[in-house]
């Protein structure tokens, strides 16, 4: 902050030097004075319509709303006088005139801004003897429940939909006593981030439909965890009671998800308990029958003796499990673990399979090129950041299918070679901070490494990679991918690894949550499925072993930008489920193989000993190898096939969620964003 930007002000008679571009409310916050507010929110534009944040400014005749008031040199602000208190009390009285006194049956009760602030500024009696107004509830879709009589018209939801979600579908109709918040013609909100309006609503007008009447906040146990349903690793807080997760809400992490999470992780938790594999199953005459751990291990032991097994690693596998698999599989040979079952192409360096731009910096881009990725579906948080950059003037180009996003794009064509498009060239010349995002749509189709090498050359020629910054990004939609690749749980074939895999040469297939075990190429092999949800994968297996979900064990996940984070255990595993490393340990003992780990802590210690940079929480891993080769630019004309078609049902857990099924029915079956909206 430069000297000239500083001004002297007084807050409650204490001198303070602050930036002159702040508002009175922000200055008060710096001074440690708490200002009550309903409509003001850090991440949204300033509305100034609740009037709760009144403060006294010396020499001004009336109280001023601090959220809208810019600072001036020499300003003397008073936040704790009787006049201020009386003013806020008056505002509160008006807010409560039409607010129903239904806190005892309101889901927001106990964590409600209005309730809390009424404790300080509310009257204990009402002077209002007229009829209160009542407002009809509106439909906002299968996720957001509305009780519109409680609404105090702060318009946070309206601003969120327009400014953050990028779907201007919520608005305030009418005026004065007739004002009502609604979506256009009461249609469902079509955003993947729509659930966040529930957290934003300062009262109980917008609440969670699935969580309705489930619990009170003080009954819940809080567990900090992370979102594993896309690769961004949004920080979440899981609220549970006994053995059941009751809701998922975001945790603030300014470098990743700010304070938003996707609807998928917020609402698919009912799927955690559907179709769970609760005990070991063994296939007898082509039918899976419940069995015991000892029987299952016994059969497995005889099968694995002198065998050549292959391990498939799924999309929700944590780092410790990956490491344990590696430890176990090393006894059987080399190149027998594969996590890239979707054929993602990589070079053997970290920079070629992660999102190299820190997520927080995406919004600084002035040009964004999307290649074979639909960020709206694959990674709504990254899509929000791109939307932010679009709002500050960035141009967005798209190669692949002509997908519909919540911001306009220049569509260049189907093939990766469109990167040489003249229009793009012209814009690239002007751009100072362009970023390029390569999605699995192309990465999974490539037949040679040259294309990835070409991408690096293209990037360095076009200021995408230059002096210290690397804006060439590879986006995989799977939470486990970067971590497993860093562990090296993949075959050395860098293109089409799964297609090239000599599947017939393995007689036993161990699938750790990978549904690819059901592929016809493994028909002859003996198949073991380690997982938590029964679907195709488990159905095709000869032995099914129950393992815990990410909420039932501790585990590290490395997000797409290379940031290790921990998902913490929330409650005990369901049924007889056992952590993967314990099963592998048991098997090792039976087969007299060396597996010297006895506890989870030992496993993690061993992991951090072998891969010290993977357990450095919250720091982005620094890549040691840079790609230097300046090869010729040539792109192969592969087609683009997006990895995820349906946002709400992209994985085995969401597929089992009733809430997600309702979303598909309600939101996806109707035409998505209409162009004119």
């Amino acid at each position: 902050m430069s000297e000239e930007n500083l001004i002297n002000i007084k807050i409650n008679h204490k001198d303070l030097q602050v930036d002159k571009n702040l508002t009175v409310m922000q200055a008060c916050e710096i001074a440690g004075e708490e200002i009550p507010r309903f409509c003001y929110h850090d991440k949204l534009s300033i509305a100034g319509n609740c009037r709760m944040c009144l403060v006294e400014i010396e020499k001004a005749p009336k109280l001023a709303s601090s959220c809208t008031m810019p600072l001036m040199d020499g300003m003397s602000i008073i936040t704790n006088s009787e006049k201020v208190k009386a003013g806020r009390k008056g505002v509160m009285e008006f807010l409560l005139i039409n607010h129903p006194l239904d806190c005892p049956i309101c889901d927001q009760g106990g964590e409600c801004d209005l309730q809390d602030q009424a404790m300080y500024y509310g009257f204990d009696k009402s002077r209002y003897s007229e009829n209160k107004r009542a407002v009809e509830n509106k439909n906002m879709g299968p996720l957001v429940n509305t009780i519109m009589t409680r609404c105090i018209h702060c318009t946070r939801c309206v601003r969120f939909a327009t400014e953050v979600a990028g779907v201007p579908e919520i608005g305030m109709l009418g005026r004065g006593e007739n004002a009502e918040i609604t979506t256009y013609l009461e249609k469902s909100i079509t955003s993947e981030l729509s659930g966040n309006v529930i957290d934003l609503c300062p009262v109980g007008a917008l609440t969670s439909k699935p969580y309705q009447f489930k619990a009170r906040p003080w009954e819940l146990k809080r567990t900090d965890s992370i979102d594993i349903f896309d690769s961004v690793g949004s920080n979440i807080r899981i609220d549970s009671r006994a053995q059941e997760i009751l809701r998922v809400t975001p945790r603030v992490n300014e470098s990743i998800n700010e304070e938003w999470i996707t609807d998928k992780v917020r609402f698919n938790y009912d799927g955690y308990y559907q179709q769970r594999i609760d005990k070991p199953y063994i296939k007898k005459s082509s039918k899976l029958e419940p069995s015991s751990w000892s029987d299952a291990i016994k059969i497995l032991k005889s099968k694995l003796k002198n065998s050549n097994p292959l391990a498939l690693v799924g999309e929700h596998t944590d780092l410790e499990t990956g490491f344990a698999i590696q430890k176990f599989m090393s006894h059987f040979g080399k190149d027998n673990i594969e996590c890239r079952t979707d054929n993602q192409s990589i070079l053997p360096i970290l920079d070629s399979y992660r999102f190299n731009t820190p997520i927080v910096n995406i919004e600084d881009a002035d040009l964004v090129i999307l290649c074979g990725t639909n960020p709206k579906i694959e990674s709504p948080i990254i899509n929000h950041k791109i939307f932010k950059s679009y709002n500050s003037g960035a141009e967005v180009f798209n190669i692949g299918d002509d997908i519909l996003l919540n911001y306009p794009t220049h569509y260049l064509g189907e093939s990766l070679s469109e990167l040489n498009n003249d229009l793009l060239k012209k814009h690239l010349k002007k751009a100072t901070n362009p970023i390029l995002i390569i999605g699995s749509g192309f990465l999974n189709q490539l037949n040679s490494n040259d294309t990835i090498k070409s991408l690096f050359s293209f990037a360095s020629k076009n200021k995408i990679i230059s002096d210290g910054k690397n804006n060439l990004n590879f986006l995989s939609p799977y939470a486990s991918r970067v971590g497993q690749l860093l562990l090296g749980n993949t075959s050395p074939d860098n293109c089409q690894p799964y297609t090239k895999l000599k599947k017939k040469s393995f007689d036993t297939i161990l699938s750790f949550g990978s549904e690819h075990i059901a592929d016809s190429a493994f028909k002859e092999s003996f198949k073991v499925y380690f997982g938590h949800h029964g679907d195709e994968g488990a159905m095709s297996a000869d032995i099914v072993l129950p393992t815990p979900l990410y909420t039932e064990k501790n585990g590290i996940f490395i997000n797409i930008e290379g940031r290790p984070q921990e998902a913490k255990k929330c409650h005990n595993p369901i049924g007889e489920a056992k952590e993967e490393w314990k099963i592998l340990k048991e098997l090792s003992n039976q087969l007299s193989l060396n597996f010297e780990i006895n506890t989870f802590d030992e496993l993690r210690q061993d992991l951090s000993h072998n891969y010290p940079n993977l357990v450095n929480f919250h720091e982005i891993i620094i890549s040691s190898n840079k790609y230097e080769d300046q090869s010729n630019i040539s792109f192969e004309g592969s087609s683009c096939i997006y990895p995820i078609q349906n946002f709400y049902m992209s994985d085995i857990i969401s597929k089992n969620s009733k809430t997600m099924a309702k979303c598909v029915e309600d939101i996806l079956s109707k035409p998505l964003l209409e162009k004119s909206a």
């Binding site: 579908e169 109709l173 007739n178 609604t182 013609l185 909206a677």
Partner: protein
């Protein structure tokens, strides 16, 4: 009183017919939009709502909203917000003649209640109702700004001032019989000169 003022309802309805701008309106729209910077053409939403209402039998249907949103490339909900905010954009269908009776103090002191009663009797509809033959919709409004000539009513775009029960009945009868009406003061006053 029954129902709501057709301009104060927050519910919008489909007319069932496609709404397309007439040729003349397309030309006026061009002119109106040219008044604003090109990236701010949504500013033209109010004049466009007015044109749409004029073209669409004096009310705004969902089809109108969607056409306006498309013309100005703005979200439909934003157009809806504006249309619902102002009471002079009718969000419900109204009769051929929208009769707005001023009921604010000056007109009321000069007997607007009697005028209201006469109108209701003659048109056979209550306040906020449309007559069966779809000829009239009667609404009560606040001050229309012709206080010195009260009591007064507005029928569509015209003011009728210095009314009494007889002249009001005459005006309604003329409309029923498709006869022309004298606009302005019914007592022969020029504008608001001393009576």
């Amino acid at each position: 009183m029954s129902g709501n003022h057709p301009g104060l309802s927050n519910t919008f309805i489909h007319s069932g017919e496609k709404f397309e701008w007439s040729k003349e309106n397309l030309q006026s729209i061009k002119k109106i939009i040219s008044r604003y910077p090109s990236e701010r053409k949504q500013s033209a939403v109010m004049p466009l709502l007015y044109l749409a209402q004029e073209q669409n039998d004096n009310w705004i249907s969902i089809e109108c909203i969607e056409t306006i949103a498309e013309t100005l490339s703005m979200p439909k909900i934003r157009v809806t917000e504006v249309a619902s905010f102002y009471s002079m954009y009718n969000t419900q269908p109204v009769g051929k003649n929208l009769i707005q009776v001023c009921r604010t103090s000056p007109c009321w002191l000069r007997g607007s209640n009697k005028i209201t009663d006469t109108i209701c009797k003659e048109t056979k509809c209550q306040i906020n109702e449309t007559s069966e033959d779809n000829l009239f919709t009667v609404v009560e409004v606040e001050c229309l700004g012709a206080c010195s000539n009260g009591p007064m009513i507005q029928i569509n775009n015209d003011f009728y001032e210095d009314l009494d029960e007889t002249s009001t009945k005459q005006i309604i009868d003329n409309i029923k019989n498709d006869l022309p009406n004298k606009v302005g003061s019914q007592k022969g006053r020029r504008s608001s000169e001393n009576a």
